[in-house]
Symmetry: C2
Subunit: 322 residues, 2 copies
């Protein structure tokens, strides 16, 4: 199967009057993805891409990332036509970050066949002057030293979310701790939460992470759901049940885009806002799994998002409504 | 660590006026359990024990099971003092079913060290005449031929729940299918649902099981929660977050006891009743994990159950209450 990602003419995003600009720093990449349902060759991917394509439904999104010469005008148009601000996208000679991987029938089992950093190896995020008023910031999974540098450049950001991964936790534990000290919200996979804290028990792992800095921690459990830990308590949601998971690539990044997008779009940082953001994150992650790569996000509408949010509410309701 | 399970004087169970008797067929056993938190040697266990000790908070419970000479008057008193009807408990020469196992720090990883069927190997359920009016029936995880035989003896049961396991699915697939045809509600682990249907996707596996008989299927996902699939849709709940899981043995059976107990106690079989039962099942399973063996169930109160149900409601609520 060859996926075709064509630029689509798209109505302008309609955001709430409260919407604040959201800046995302991370990777834009090309992926070759094999699942039991087919293969997608060198399709546009990367954490910042999924994040931005999910968040843009809720708020204006700006990205800081680096791409190579294989990033064509058609790719640029695909993002720009969806209202994503690309002033912070650096072009460098060489190839973009490339990842190739394969999922088993059990989509929790993923095998990486290739990770070629290419231009991403020397990525130095540069924040355009126009981006410095970004009130919401997401520090995607990159070198924690770079995450810390970006964070210092936006000292007035009202809400800083972030992600990291096992590679950085193992190789740069002190830098990861510095990164955590500056965060309001960490979104992390369950296995990485365990690795970061040495705690198998996820509520205990979340409390240990909170003690390192972020007041709020969301532990993502893939198809098993996600839990938000806040100073006052926690909120747990299942994943939205899908009868067919075509390709789970980018689901976690789309989840993060939904969460940060909702917060920025409604200018919320409170517990109730975070809980609703958690649900919108789950909804956005579920859409991504329905097609290969970013395909589903590209053709999604705000109405479909709202309809699925209402469905999610209905399927998680166990107590009789009075 | 040696667990001490002493009979405790206990106030009589207070059930709703709607409460219907619930008959459970299954195993009563002794378990030696090792977890990173300690060891419990030859403590009272078995699926029917956990089931009954959870269900008895909601409705009168009767059990049909078999025990050996190591089942002492103190064990009998422990169950009888909690209002569990033991007229269907057969005593046989020899030893009771014995299981020994160990959990890793990740409680999903369980290793079985010993499974000695003993008197359970020749178990022939006999339904006392007084039990034949049981409107609610739970066919615990035993030989599916025996499950079918019991089911035939209670043709008027209004609601029949059941469980099975990989051993029977592999060795007696036809009998398991016959068993499924007679069920209203199957409660099954995720891995067993996959094995039974060949479907990795759990919503698809649930639909495939529904096509075999039971209108309702609950897929249990251990620490990841549980989902109820009904003809009209589904309801997903996370597990109740626990900061310490001392021993997960029996959590799934306590879950089933909470589900069937709630249904029988309120004489419900409708979708809304099943959803609420799903939440009570999760609550009961969570209590069991807090101590070794049945210890936590023995000292539990109905007030604690209601308090945790309200907590569960609070932590699963993501949409602002108007």
């Amino acid at each position: 199967m060859k996926t075709s990602i064509l630029p689509v003419s798209e109505p302008a995003n309609v955001h709430a009057a409260t919407a604040q600009p959201l800046l995302a720093v991370g990777s834009v990449a090309f992926d070759t993805i094999r699942t039991p349902h087919g293969v997608a060759e060198r399709v546009l991917g990367g954490a910042a891409t999924y994040f931005a394509l999910a968040a843009r439904f809720f708020t204006p999104v700006r990205i800081v990332a680096v791409v190579g010469e294989d990033f064509l005008p058609s790719h640029e148009n695909l993002l720009a036509s969806r209202g994503i601000d690309l002033a912070g996208l650096q072009r460098r000679p060489g190839k973009s970050f490339f990842w190739a991987g394969e999922y088993e029938s059990n989509p929790d089992r993923r095998h990486t066949h290739a990770t070629e950093l290419n231009v991403f190896a020397d990525f130095q995020p540069q924040i355009p002057r126009d981006y410095r008023d970004s009130r919401y910031l997401f520090l995607g999974n990159i070198d924690p030293a770079l995450q810390c540098a970006v964070r210092r450049e936006l000292p007035d950001a009202a809400c800083i979310g972030g992600d990291t991964m096992n590679y950085w936790i193992a190789s740069q534990p002190e830098r990861v701790r510095e990164f955590l000290r500056g965060l309001h919200l960490l979104m992390i996979n369950d296995s990485e939460a365990v690795e970061l804290t040495g705690e198998w028990n996820l509520p205990s792992a979340a409390r240990a992470i909170q003690a390192l800095g972020p007041a709020h921690v969301i532990i993502k459990r893939g198809a098993h759901g996600a839990t938000l830990y806040s100073p006052g308590g926690c909120c747990a949601v299942p994943s939205f049940p899908l009868e067919q998971v075509l390709d789970p690539t980018g689901a976690g990044d789309s989840f993060a885009g939904g969460v940060m997008g909702f917060l920025a779009g409604h200018n919320r940082r409170d517990e109730a806002g975070l809980r609703q953001a958690l649900a919108y994150g789950s909804v956005m992650g579920s859409f991504t799994c329905e097609r290969f790569g970013v395909e589903r996000l590209l053709e999604l509408t705000r109405e479909q998002i709202e309809a699925r949010y209402r469905q999610f509410l209905a399927i998680t309701q166990f107590h009789p409504v009075p």
